[in-house]
Symmetry: D2
């Protein structure tokens, strides 16, 4: 029932191709900065266009990169010709998202083949110091036999 192993040796190509089609990540200025089996890191620099009323990064933007990191950490473990879909996510905000850069690091916990559970930490980086500013837990569904192609 539990599977953490890679079932697609070309997962890196698959993930990066899919990510490149997420226009919203481009809008956020977000990039995949690390990738491994069951792991994905997405980084997003501070931008004026992403702020809330106190000029911190909007919780919604933090949630968005954490959600994408969760989805792609699951996608690294999915078989060829599959795609991923977020079922739900929950974000706890620990401190105001203040910094020059924001890094979401998600890893897949031992879970099922079709439903993966991700745990993601988001760090704010200021003067090279990392502060944990949010955590996200998510359920990601693996849809088999349906490649993640452009529509």
């Amino acid at each position: 029932m539990i599977s953490q192993e890679i079932s697609d040796k070309d997962y890196e190509i698959k993930v990066k191709d899919s990510f490149s089609r997420q226009n919203f990540m481009n809008t956020l200025g977000a990039k995949i900065t690390k990738l491994g089996p069951g792991f994905c890191e997405i980084s997003m620099p501070f931008q004026d266009s992403l702020t809330q009323q106190h000029h911190f990064i909007h919780a919604g933007a933090i949630g968005a990169i954490a959600d994408s990191a969760a989805g792609y950490s699951a996608f690294t473990l999915s078989p060829p010709h599959s795609s991923v879909l977020t079922v739900e996510y929950k974000l706890n905000l620990l401190t105001p998202a203040k910094g020059e850069e924001f890094v979401a690091r998600s890893r897949i916990l031992p879970s099922g083949k079709k439903l993966k559970v991700a745990f993601c930490e988001v760090y704010a980086i200021e003067n090279k110091q990392e502060t944990l500013c949010a955590i996200l837990t998510a359920t990601v569904k693996i849809i088999q036999n349906k490649a993640d192609l452009p529509l």
Copy 2:
């Protein structure tokens, strides 16, 4: 302990002023389209810049307008010289966010004075038909004696 009543008759000015300083809502093309005591509706038209890999609206963008709607529905009930902060939110995605417009409607449930609980429904509108595509529950903190001013 429980308070649903307005404690600031100028809540509308306060909310709209704060919202206008959320650059991220502007980036999303989102607007407040309805406001009442303990209620806030935010609408966001479809934009290419907000999509995920299947060209639906990214769950992160859905979460962002729902989070803002939650926060501002709480802000309508907060006293003068206060501000609001999202403590946590959880989003369940019911159907792919497919449509021409997306509308988040949040209302505050009977909860405490300092911690408000919001329940938000997000509808996708396609050919004038509304489909519930996501729900969000959130905890919003009211920070008293600290006006929601620009930094």
Copy 3:
């Protein structure tokens, strides 16, 4: 993709039989008090054995009846020879769980065939007056071709 209709006309027998095998519900003194397509109500009287340190009902007991109500509201919609499994749930506590009886009412929102999303309200009843004391959102998985039988 979306299905709210009954696919098993004997859902009531199925649900009640499964519930009767949930020893934990018996330990809590909980009973199904209403059932319909996509709906389940579970009631639990106050008991000393269920309290937390301030002699209110423990949040864990509230979560337990809400989780069961969520699962069984999904089970009413599942096909014959299937079973249900909670994937995740989130509970927001609105007021202390103070009262003589606690009633969890769950309904299934329009969602997928295999993954149902439930929204559950929990009311505390005191002197015949109902107070909303908690809300729960849950994802419930329908496992097809595997009847909900005793092991």
Copy 4:
């Protein structure tokens, strides 16, 4: 704003006294098995009275010990004459709760003074082997100047 340090050197007495008044933990057969600054472990042996329909431990019982572990990990960091209250918790179930014993380990993440965020892992122990079966994230409120006394 962030505080992880102990502000009550007698936190162990305070926590254990409060726990002993949680009748529900006694009903579950649960005990505190480890305690430290910002950390709490609660263990619960398998009991027939705690099962769901497939004779695994009910998700509600898992959620209950994880919630208590979250609350008491926060309580270790609270000042004298204070009490704690769970605001919300979310449980993701990774595998069926099958085993002889269940151990919830919660630690407080760097968060605010009045609102603590806990991350809790629940392990099922079978033949001396631990399997992560659930994770919980929770928000716990510290209520100052109100000792956690019996009512």
